[in-house]
Symmetry: none
Subunit: 118 residues, 2 copies
């Protein structure tokens, strides 16, 4: 289990393919084997396996052997990375741009407070 530091090049490159985005969407429903993930796509298993490899190298999913199949699961961290990068442009479509930085900084603290209330 090698923790790679997140690389936006790899992440965005991985997301720039409809097959790979579909695979990620599939995984939202829960972990799946390589064959399961490959099944809906009109290509060889080896082809789909390559796509999964790209996603794994980008840190977007992880594979773990489970008997004779490889169980794939979504890795939120890398996606979150992309999202954080995009958020820095949120001021463009967000009116409250003067407060955004504050909000982002205070986010965790607010969540902790909410957790205390509930």
């Amino acid at each position: 289990m090698v923790k790679r530091e997140p690389d936006l090049d790899l992440i965005f490159k991985a997301l720039a393919d409809p097959t790979r985005r579909a695979i990620l969407a599939s995984l939202k429903a829960g972990d799946q084997s390589v064959s399961d993930l490959a099944a809906p796509h009109a290509m060889s298993l080896a082809g789909a396996s390559k796509h999964i490899g790209v996603l794994e190298r980008a840190g977007l999913l992880s594979r773990e052997r489970r008997g004779r199949e490889l169980r794939c699961s979504l890795e939120a961290e890398a996606l979150r990375c992309a999202e954080v990068w995009l958020q820095s442009y949120a001021t463009l479509w967000n009116k409250r741009l003067d407060r955004l930085d504050e909000l982002l900084m205070a986010e965790r603290a607010e969540e902790a407070e909410d957790a205390n209330k509930n």
Copy 2:
């Protein structure tokens, strides 16, 4: 001004390059000419111009002639598109954060217990 429908393939592909992300970041500060945008990058003007072309085709920026230079400006819509797609995964890291909060709360509770003991 041809309004293209947003294409996630083009958008993510455009974002998957550090030079292009830097160009977008540059534009956060305001509109700039092609030469201005190209200047910080260690490549020919034609090379940078190509990158700008990629960003334009993805709908991430627009160009407008202003005298003899071309003024480039950020186009929020395409970025927002990518952000919306990513948001559909936000539950993943929200869940993770929730779990993290739980863990932190548990730790805090343990600390409190320890404090009681001492």
